[in-house]
Structure formats: structure tokens, C-alpha cells
Subunit: 271 residues, 2 copies
Amino acid sequence: MFRVLGRQHPTIRRLRVLRRDPARRRAESVLVAEGIHLAQEALATSRASVELVVLSPELGRTEEGRRLIAALRQSEVRCFETSDSVIQSLQDARSAQPILAVVRRPRWPPDSGLETAQPGALLAVAHGIQDPGNLGSLVRTLHAAGGTACFVDPGCADPFHPRAVRAGMGSMLRLPVLSEPTADLLPRLRERGIALLGADAAGEQEYQDCDLARSVAIFFGGEGRGLPPELLAELDETVRVPLQSGVDSLSVGAAAAVLLFEAARQRSATR
Amino acid sequence: MFRVLGRQHPTIRRLRVLRRDPARRRAESVLVAEGIHLAQEALATSRASVELVVLSPELGRTEEGRRLIAALRQSEVRCFETSDSVIQSLQDARSAQPILAVVRRPRWPPDSGLETAQPGALLAVAHGIQDPGNLGSLVRTLHAAGGTACFVDPGCADPFHPRAVRAGMGSMLRLPVLSEPTADLLPRLRERGIALLGADAAGEQEYQDCDLARSVAIFFGGEGRGLPPELLAELDETVRVPLQSGVDSLSVGAAAAVLLFEAARQRSATR
């Protein structure tokens, strides 16, 4: 069996700190993946490496969990056990999982995702998105639509927050997710000829009329307020999704799905 | 000023029960709207009526809150005050709001949203969606895309759960959101000639190739598992959103946004 750790064991304490402290997650360059599905993804992804796993007896109570335990025994990953209540105390109460994995974040070469040869870059830039779950969903949708990288301004939630990682469903491990102040990013994108588009409820073009098959970065603003006018003024174009009258905005997740899959559609049509 | 209610006042106790008990919300035919934006929406929507409002001193600390208090004073709505800590105890800790409104749910005539004259019905059917926030987002996206009604199978979360209402951003008050077992709904839709489409990652048609300008009901399954095979077998067609290789599914919110806005696009093109 695996070594059993108590509530005050240094590894459990470290997990407690990693859960609440984005600076510590960043300094250690790790993320905490919660649950069977994410743990499997982390084990299967060559770009990320699993540093250690903590599981609870609950994991052995399902067939899927027992298969994962067997796979972990065959692997070289350091595994520890703790009680169900300790593992729950390390997570959101609403849907605690029987396994946590500390995963080293993938390292990406400089300028990953900024390629402009056809099919060129399809970037999402998050600016002011406060909810980690919304950020995770954006990364998942971008990945599914064939996006090449996600940039996250420091004014957003931490894209490696446990809830973001969970909503991202493993996409954090496969797609470059890069923290960079929007002000620094703009000249880098301009230099490469990547079109800068703002998603805005009052945008000048309808999304279907916008060329999304070229290399583009689509900027998404925060819940409620959207992109700040100073930033919109710096972008090349603004795009909107036309809404039923009486509705004043879409959620950032829905707007991103519509725009990014329109980009995917245009790209597959021109291939 | 408004009458101040203590933690054990019957109205506060009732709010506590309404928060946790879907059966009580249903029996009373009410929903609890949290926050300034939703309270404003409820006051402005003629279909819904605000039964009472409870607010805390926190509300008077913002300009927007003070404007709402002034509007409430002019209105006939029964208003009560309670402490910040009591109002917080009636909500999710993560983002407690300084105002709660008990709102009578809108009543809809029978067969609301099932019209088949052009532009015909655009329905979403939720089957097995467990997260109230996902259900609320689906209703919001459907409303924004010009949908006509949302049906919710009893195996889903309660669409009038406070988190669903919050994610729905007022759309629950403006669009028919109807609880009905999928098994009863199918013959009613068939009788009217409404096409029954299942959103499925392995669907037979790509979504752009599917005629969504006719009267359609799009069925969306739960997080993770999607629609059950028995139900898929009963539908007329299945549609998929093509995904980047290596990604096996979209979130229900993203899939709904892509499909419903494709319907909106086809409908505006044929008008």
C-alpha cells in the first residue's frame, strides 16, 4: 500500500498552501489536478510531469479508481494516501475528489502559438476575467476549436487555480497558457502581423463578416464589464455576436465559443 | 428606513428554506434573485412580480445600491433590512450579494414557445445537466440567440436554484423555462412537427450542415456523459461540433452557444 500521511504532514501542508496561494503555485511552477479524469490526463501527457499523487480510500471504491491505482503502482510516480476528510479539506467542498496530483506545468518554447504560417495563430487573450472557472472554460473551448495559445493578463484570476484547471479538463496541459501583461503582448503581436480583435457587445462588425482565417488574437473582457475602452481603442477591429433584443450581453464562455468555432469553421473551409 | 429582521424572523427562515429546498421553491412558485442586477431585472419585468426584498447595510455603500434603494422606496414592493452577516448566511459564501428578492415565477400559457410559424420554435431541452450554473448559462445563451423556450427534465438540477438564476442573468424571467419529463415532451414535440436533434460529440452531421432554421428542439446532455443512447435513438437527427483531435468533448455551455448561434445565423439569413 501507499504511505499514509496525516493532516500535518509537510506534503499535506504544502498542498494546503498550493490551493490558496497563486504565488506559490507560480514559484513552484506546478498546478494541482483534482479528480480521476485530470490525474489520468496528467499521467498521459508527455509535456507535463506528475510530481506526486495523494489519494484517499474513496478512490478504491469505484472500478475506474481501482484501475487508476493499478496504473499508479506500475508507474514511477510518488504516491501517498490520506484520509477522505483530509483530502476533502484540500479542495472545494462542493465536489471534492478522491485524488489530487501535483503536476509540473508544461514548459513552452518562446513564442509558442504565435506562428503565422497557414493555418496561422488563433489566440485568445483574457483581460479582466475574474472567475477561475470561466478562465478554465475559455482554455478548454480554445483548445477544442484548434487555438494555438491563450494569454492571460495578470488582472485575471490565476489560470492555474484549481477550479480553472478543473474547468479546463486537461487543456492546461496541452495548450500554451501564458501569463503576460496585455500591454507587453500588444507590440509582440503587432510585430508579427497578427490581427488584434476585441470581442465586444457593441463591436463594429458581426462575427460572421470578420476574417478569422488569418492569424488573429481575440481579446475577451471580464464578466459584466467587458473590455475597457482604452484597450478596445488599441485593437485593430471589434467584433460582436448579434443578440436578441432585450439581452445586453453574452457570458464570456458563450461569446468565446461562438467566435472561436466560427474561426475553426472558416479555417476548415479555406483548407 | 425599512423594518429590520433578525436571524430567526419567519421571513429570514423562509429564505433559508427556499435556498436549500427545490420542492419548496416549486410549491410556492417563486425564485430567489440575488444581487443588484437581478433585483433590477425582476422589478423591470412585467411577467414576474417581486413579492418582497431583503437588503443589508452593504447595499447603501455603492452609488448603484443607493439608486436601487430609492427606486424601492418609490415602489410598492415590501422591503426589509437585515444584517450583512445574516444576508450572507442566506447565500453561497463565495460571492454573497447585499440584496435578495423573492420573485414569483412568470406564468406561461400552455404550449408557450412551441409555435411553428416562421420563424418557428427554437427550443433547448436539458437532460441530465447536474450543475445549476450550467443550466442557468444554457437559458441565458438560448435567450440571447432568440430561443423560444427551455425544457428541463426532472433528472437535471433545479433551473430555479439560486446559482442557476444568477447564471441566467434574468433570462429565467423572460423566457419560458419549463420542467417536464423528456418522455412526455417527445410526443408533444413530434405531434407539432418540431425536429428533434441531439447534440452529441459523435453526432452524424456537422452542425453547419444541419437545417436549424426550421422548428427545432436541440437536446443537451449532462456534463461528462452527454445524452443517454436510449434517448439519442429516439431523436430524429444528431449533430456534432467538430473538435480538434485530442479533445473529446466540449462543455455543454460551449456546445449550446455554437449550436444555438448557428440557428440564429441561419434564421437571420433566411428572413
